[in-house]
């Protein structure tokens, strides 16, 4: 055997051969980082140690470019925000107390790049990964959501990506028995070579069932269970299997990971049984960086160290080198810490569910993470240096010079212009808008997802939020909405992030739930580009300030950088997921009216804010400044909507967002196929805008509600007391079969439905 045989790169050998060339650059480390590793260890790292540090210090795992900014989520918190927070940022997912001894955990994560390479499997494993995060908190997963972004709807490659991603999200989520209760679908050329697949999972547990990723108690045993470890996800790190380190022939490593939803479903049930019988002391899912991450995080969060024997890891591919085993991202695996007394009971649960497992090590009191292979020590590190002491970068950032010009390019569309229809042109304009790729019905997507399974879905698409019951006795439950607008954020990243927050917040409140927690997935371009870094810094600052203003904490999330095609970054896309709580989910507010004769009210005022709007997008325009955000006003509106719902003052409510009031009214009519007579003259006059602006401007802080006649006095009183502008703009008309803007134009519901529902089927079959 040659001196440099990978398997023999023990710590002894490393100490004796300080000058061996190591492929640190190929593994994505820079020279300073490599020097730092040597300094930490007091010698060169072994190949296996190098593998661990390189994956754990990657952007994805260490947040090295984003850390300095994300800190604000922890710093800008008030006591009010901390009140319901049981587990905050830093764990696999945050946990929020929702009352009655129930806790909810939710998190959103990205799987963008893999979903471009292999859309079905990329999206599927994205869902699988986020669900394991939720299980590892001790929770039963109860629902998923999927904010998606694709390239231009008519680009030839969009077919491949859309079909694959939607089928992958459905194929995995449906097989797990998790209802899909919402998401987003957006088409924009900026995502052509870089679609965004963000996946959210939510889980519930009793307070006492919260589990953390810690390895404590000297002598406790460490077990790896679920799927076997294969060569998945080693990809770029295939240098570890190459000739320079191993003189046997290089083996093939899979280019993509394939998900096994059945294995994951079994893993869920198996973990829940472990939790119920209190058989694990600590637990961690295996995601990015696989065993490297699980062992170093468990050990550094615990009170001692850990010793692991790599020979005991069950392999799918016996040709894997130790470094590869440590880096492998094979799906559907978990790691747990079990006391020796409970080992037999643990094994019985594995046998019941037919899950493979192997005891790979134990908790020690050395404070070191030591890994053996073939009887020799190949890793001996302080686990904190791997898991928590990664590099931190203050990347340079600066407002791009082009930003001023961009912000000055307002959407002008003069009244004579086709870009600014008026009078009789407004009917066709509304139809065009409702059939546009971004405002059309998403039914083609959502009908591929199971929204019924588990029997607790109280609301799902196409309403403002997904709602699931948590407690079958009391009807306690939660609402969730995800939102982002990359165009707004491109125009003004600080405001754009707050707009995403405001929209998610308003959606949850419109459904009738009290917003309590945020998770976010920050999708941006390369952090090495100062322009992009500026967008990122501004967006995080906006989000952190925004959360403080509405009094809702960020409980966790994910950063996805390097989203770009060639040198061109995507529109900065900070996706905000908001969770709200319901005392009784059966009180949720649907987004459409149905009772003839009910009054239709508009809450809020409208300004001329067409920059970045869907209408501007339809006319090929992106410029100017996005709508203003007033989070204090949003708080008042949200509070009113929640109270109105609880006190039965409204039967339906829908927020005004992309597409403006026109889109909101059209969606409300289409929800149950019930028309209305609308008169906007007075409001237009009050707000000093023309009808086109009133219909298509995207001013925030607005919602439309339908109010039973008997409740109108109370409804108006509530608005008056809170000093919130309101206007009675119409009446529900169950007979007319049309949305009649009286004296201006009318659109038949059949025509409207056809425009709204035919777009995706026309493109995707």
């Amino acid at each position: 055997m040659s001196e440099t045989h990978f398997n023999l790169d023990t710590i002894e050998h490393a100490a004796a051969t300080p000058d061996t060339e190591l492929p640190w650059a190929e593994l994505g480390l820079n020279e300073t980082e490599f020097e730092r590793i040597k300094e930490i260890l007091g010698r060169r790292p072994t190949a296996a140690e190098l593998a661990m540090y390189s994956v754990m210090w990657s952007e994805h795992c260490s947040y090295k470019s984003s850390k300095v900014h994300l800190r604000q989520f922890g710093e800008k918190v008030t006591d009010e925000m901390r009140r319901n927070l049981m587990v905050g940022i830093g764990e696999n997912a945050g946990v929020t107390d929702i009352g009655d001894g129930w806790a909810v955990t939710f998190k959103i994560e990205s799987h963008n790049h893999p979903s471009y390479v292999e859309p079905y499997q990329g999206a599927a494993t994205g869902v699988g990964g986020i669900v394991r995060d939720i299980i590892s908190m001790g929770a039963r997963p109860v629902a998923v959501m999927d904010p998606l972004r694709f390239g231009a709807i008519d680009h030839p490659d969009t077919q491949r990506v859309v079909h694959g991603i939607v089928a992958g999200v459905g194929g995995y989520g449906n097989s797990l028995g998790l209802p899909n209760i919402g998401g987003e679908v957006e088409f924009d050329p900026c995502y052509q070579g870089n679609p965004l697949v963000n996946a959210l999972a939510v889980g519930v547990m009793r307070h006492e069932d919260i589990r953390l990723a810690t390895a404590s108690g000297t002598g406790n045993r460490v077990v790896l269970f679920g799927a076997r470890t294969g060569g998945d996800g080693i990809g770029g790190a295939s240098v570890l299997a190459s000739e320079s380190f191993d003189d046997s022939k290089p083996s093939k490593r899979p280019a993509v990971q394939v998900g096994d939803p059945f294995a994951e479903k079994v893993l869920i049930e198996c973990c829940l049984e472990l939790f119920k019988s209190s058989l694990v002391e600590g637990i961690q899912d295996l995601g990015a960086a696989g065993i490297s991450c699980a062992t170093s995080e468990l050990a550094s969060n615990g009170d001692g160290g850990m010793r692991v024997n790599l020979d005991d890891v069950l392999l799918r591919d016996p040709s894997l080198t130790p470094g590869e085993i440590l880096m492998s991202e094979s799906q559907e695996r978990m790691m747990a810490v079990v006391t020796p007394e409970k080992a037999a009971a643990f094994e019985a649960v594995m046998a019941k569910w037919d899950v493979e497992y192997s005891w790979i090590g134990e908790v020690t009191d050395t404070g070191r993470l030591v890994i053996d292979h073939h009887g020799e020590v190949i890793v001996d590190v302080d686990p904190r240096t791997v898991a928590h002491d990664g590099p931190v970068y203050e990347r340079p950032y600066a407002r791009p010079e082009s930003q001023d010009a961009l912000q000055e390019a307002h959407f002008t569309g003069s009244p004579e212009d086709a870009a600014r229809p008026s009078g009789a042109e407004l009917g066709p304009a509304l139809l065009e808008l409702m059939g546009s790729p971004n405002l059309c019905s998403k039914e083609w997507v959502t009908s591929q997802y199971d929204r019924y399974v588990q029997g607790n879905t109280a609301m799902a698409m196409p309403d403002d939020a997904g709602v699931v019951r948590v407690d079958e006795r009391s009807n306690l439950g939660v609402a969730l909405s995800t939102d982002s607008n990359g165009r707004y954020t491109r125009l003004d990243p600080y405001r754009g992030a707050q707009l995403a927050l405001a929209q998610a917040y308003r959606n949850v409140a419109t459904a009738g739930a009290r917003p309590v927690a945020v998770s976010d997935c920050l999708n941006f371009g390369s952090p090495e580009d100062p322009d992009v870094m500026w967008q990122f810094a501004e967006a995080v600052r906006g989000l952190a300030d925004g959360c403080q203003a509405i009094g809702v904490p960020v409980t966790g999330g994910n950063v996805s950088l390097y989203n770009q095609t060639g040198g061109v970054a995507i529109n900065p896309t900070p996706v905000v997921a908001m969770m709200g709580v319901f005392d009784d989910v059966t009180r949720r507010t649907p987004s459409g009216w149905r009772e003839d004769g009910q009054a239709v009210y508009l809450l809020g005022e409208t300004a001329a804010e067409l920059d970045g709007s869907e209408w501007a997008r339809l006319r090929g325009h992106l410029g100017g400044t996005p709508p203003r955000v007033d989070l204090d006003r949003e708080r008042v509106l949200a509070d009113m909507l929640v109270n109105m719902s609880r006190d039965g003052m409204i039967d339906a409510a829908h927020d005004v967002a992309e597409g403006g009031l026109g889109a909101t009214l059209a969606e409300m009519a289409l929800r149950f196929g019930v028309g209305a007579r609308i008169g906007l003259g007075e409001v237009a006059e009050r707000d000093g805008v023309d009808l086109f602006t009133l219909l298509f401007s995207e001013t925030q802080g607005r919602a439309v509600a339908s109010v039973p006649r008997s409740e109108e006095v109370r409804f108006r009183d509530m608005c008056t007391v809170r000093n919130y502008p309101f206007a009675r703009i119409g009446v529900v008309d169950a007979e007319s079969g049309s949305l009649d803007f009286q004296g201006e134009f009318a659109v038949g519901l059949d025509e409207l439905r056809d425009a709204h529902e035919s777009t995706l089927p026309r493109h995707f079959g």
């Binding site: 199971d450 588990q454 609301m459 006795r473």
Partner: protein, 263 residues
């Protein structure tokens, strides 16, 4: 004659602890089988309880039916639907017991929903098979059904020809059988449910559910257990519009078997 439990009398929430309105129905024990990968087992159990019966969880690897009076094979993706839906589950030890009990003199009522239906065809308790939906995609929607046979153990409470709406959600839901088997099913009135208002998946003769010759074993692709509880059911019902998620047309499937067994 047992007291009927109507939809209005059903509790709004699945309060599993509340006393059943009719103790004779509560004495009926309905087993709900869980295979690895089964998903709608808790929902089927909830439906049984809301209907007033007692749900008994059964584990696929056991060999004991625990004295249940009827069995439901719920929906889901047993074994991931790998190979063919239901193909691996049918070899479960418990399936032998279920086949025996269904074929024995008493003719124990067995209901296969979605994946459960697929298991029943793979086990040859029911003829035909399911292949991929015509459009090749998973399809989730509220589905109209016509009750074609109100004489089975699971459909006694329906009227012949009654239209109902329950959720449908599957990828392999297209029912196929050869000409002879189809002719036989039709001639013997063994089509129990037919799709109404459009065939969602290309099933032969619009078939959504069938029964065996004795009428104790029924399989159907749509999910009656997801239309049993107001607020969490279908958006529609066969007897006209209802409120959002208020449709509970599926409940009578479960009440039917309880009544059948207490007659």
């Amino acid at each position: 004659m047992a007291q009927h439990l109507t939809a209005e009398q059903t509790p709004l929430v699945a309060d599993l602890s509340q006393p059943a309105p009719d103790s004779r129905l509560a004495d009926v024990r309905v087993g709900v089988v869980t295979f690895p990968g089964t998903l709608d087992d808790r929902d089927a159990a909830r439906a049984v309880e809301i209907a007033g019966g007692t749900a008994v969880p059964l584990w696929y690897a056991d060999t004991d039916l625990q004295g249940v009076d009827a069995v439901i094979l719920p929906g889901g993706f047993s074994y991931g639907d790998y190979l063919r839906a239901g193909a691996i589950a049918r070899f479960a030890p418990l399936m032998d017991r279920i086949v025996d009990a269904a074929s024995a003199d008493g003719g124990m009522p067995v209901l296969g929903i979605c994946n459960g239906f697929q298991v029943l065809t793979e086990a040859h308790l029911l003829p035909g098979s399911m292949i991929k939906n015509e459009r090749l995609k998973f399809l989730c929607r509220d589905q109209g059904l016509r009750v074609e046979n109100a004489d089975t153990a699971w459909t006694g409470r329906f009227a012949q020809g009654q239209e109902i709406v329950v959720p449908l959600k599957n990828q392999d839901g297209q029912y196929v059988a050869d000409r002879r088997a189809l002719d036989e099913l039709e001639a013997e009135h063994r089509v129990v449910f037919r799709y109404a208002g459009g065939n969602p998946n290309g099933s032969r003769n619009d078939i959504a559910g069938i029964t065996n010759a004795r009428g104790n074993v029924v399989g159907l692709m749509p999910h009656p257990e997801h239309a049993v509880e107001p607020g969490f059911g279908a958006d529609l019902s066969g007897s006209g519009a209802v409120g959002m998620r208020e449709g509970t047309d599926g409940l009578d499937v479960f009440v039917s078997v309880l009544e059948h067994l207490t007659r």
